[in-house]
Amino acid sequence: MTRMNLKKSNNNPESGFEAFSLKRNPTSPRTLFGLIMSGIAGLSTLLAIIPLFIILTYLITKGISSLSASVFTELPPPPLVDGGGFGNAILGTVIMVGIGALISVPLGVMAAIYLSEFNEGKAGAWIRFATNVLSGVPSIIVGVFAYSAIVLTFKTYSAWAGGFALAILMLPIIVRTTDESLKLVPQDVRQASVGIGANQYQTVLQVVLPATLPAIITGITLSIARAAGETAPLLFTALFTQYWPNWGNRLAEPTASLSVLVYNFAIVPFKNQQELAWGAAFILVLLVLATSIISRLATAKRTY
């Protein structure tokens, strides 16, 4: 009955409701407003991506031209001297990121295991919150902290202080990615493991962790790539040096790194050093891009 009435009124122009008003009117202000707003949104997306391509173009053109085999094996040149490279900076970055990973991987993975496997109400929520807040702490503050905790205590700039600072920056990334990947393992897997008599540590270490290992490794790789590009925490913990890392001194002296080299050589007026800065920047970005793309592909295939 009601439907009949509706239909009737729809077709009756005298009821004040006209059926054609339901059609989309291409020239009405509402439609035009929508079109304009869509245009603005599309334009801002374009505007957001343009800087990425401009920066990548410059890095590729300027970076590749300054790279050669000797760049990877030689020491940084003094001003106005041609040639040279940043072999010591590559080694220094590898050492410090390695120290950072050695500290942050066990700590971060175990913390994430606690969060996802033994989560006990409020404590877990608080630790997740603290992890998120830690990831927002400016990297320069982490540098100041490492300076005050390690450099002032041992009275020397060192690769250890730099690695310690990097570890703190890597921790939140590792905890978050591990925590999230552990959560994706279905509860059934754990129950099956416990059901056939496994203990907690057996369940976690032999069943749950192996199931999600690729995702955890992806997270670790991502954190390593980020750490390699960090400059601020190394400025006054590892400082910089023109020389190779000194194993005889147990690395307890200033250590070069790629990122600090980019900074130091970008702000000097010497052309050969500036070119090395572009080369080092190119390598850093290549590292970050490669790990981002690989990790994206790895997580895209995730099946659970």
Partner: protein, 297 residues
């Protein structure tokens, strides 16, 4: 035949110890992460003590930074930090929101959309020092060609900052927008709303807490960003209202002076670091509260 019957054995002593050790190691390490925040506060606070006692709160409003006369104040640095961050927000909030809306609507097929999302995320992955390098050799010469800018200054620093924080705003706002119940959009469209009427009057208000959280997270990042800003802002320790003039931020003050500082100057720098840490901590905590509220909806 009794040995064919299944028997349930209790955990052996060793097993139990291993289990408990594993549990407690995980627990202690998890709490250690929260402990790091406390450790940072205490460690930096103790080292800043001499300067806190010497200058008190006047440190915040004093403009001179003079190691010779031992007069230290961070007002110009705080001014530069706040102004550069807010200029950056002014640029990247509208653009970031535009990106978030564009990438949460069905303008492109999902495959294309995912690629654009990834490209925007890549902006956040480029190291800060690389932005600084690019700014010195490309952005500053470019800006010099048509503005009164004469070298490093507030404008290039704020512009680079806006590029660096844009992915944060775009990604978190997009999450907030896609988290809005599809039923609300359907209801709006069912009542006759156009796409943009639904977005502006229904979806954005519903996603507002997450969007504001994302903006605050970006603000925290901008306040603490160091390398790119240090390389582009000119590090002039005075307040100048012109965006074309060199300026300074708390983080670039730290980056420039720490390695060569000694005595009271170290304490003053620690004090400045403590102020920056506490400001970003408050901003981050508020942002996290807003973003977690979003996840609960």
């Amino acid at each position: 035949m009794s040995n064919h019957e299944p028997r349930i054995e209790p955990r052996s002593g060793i097993e139990r110890t291993l289990d408990n050790t594993f549990y407690w190691t995980a627990k202690i390490l998890a709490f250690a992460i929260a402990g790091i925040l406390v450790w940072i506060t205490i460690q930096v606070g103790i080292k800043a003590m001499p300067a806190i006692q010497e200058f008190g709160l006047g440190f915040l409003t004093t403009s001179s930074w003079n190691p010779v006369s031992k007069q230290y104040g961070v007002w110009p640095a705080i001014y530069g930090t706040v102004v550069s961050s807010f200029i950056a927000l002014g640029i990247s909030v509208p653009i970031g929101l535009g990106v978030a809306i564009f990438l949460s609507e069905d303008y492109f097929p999902p495959a294309v959309q995912r690629i654009i999302v990834f490209l925007v995320e890549l902006l956040a992955a480029v190291p800060s020092v690389v932005y600084g390098l690019w700014g010195i050799f490309v952005l500053i010469p470019f800006l010099k060609s048509f503005t009164p800018l004469r070298g490093p200054g507030m404008l290039p620093a704020a512009l680079i900052l806006s590029v660096m924080i844009l992915p944060t705003i775009a990604a978190i706002s997009r999450d907030a927008i896609t988290n809005v119940d599809q039923g609300m959009r359907q209801a709006a469209v069912g009542l006759g709303a156009t796409r943009w009427e639904a977005i502006l009057q229904i979806i954005l208000p519903a996603a507002s807490s997450g969007i504001i959280g994302g903006i605050m997270l970006a603000l925290g990042r901008a306040l603490g960003e160091t390398m790119a800003v240090t390389m582009l802002i000119g590090n002039a320790n005075k307040v100048n209202p012109s965006v074309f003039a060199p300026s300074n931020t708390v983080s670039s003050l730290l980056a420039n002076q720490f390695a060569e500082a000694s005595g009271l100057q170290v304490a003053a720098l620690m004090y400045a670091a403590l102020i920056l840490f506490l400001i970003t901590l408050v901003v981050n905590i508020l942002a996290q509260l807003l973003v977690t509220r979003l996840q609960k909806i």
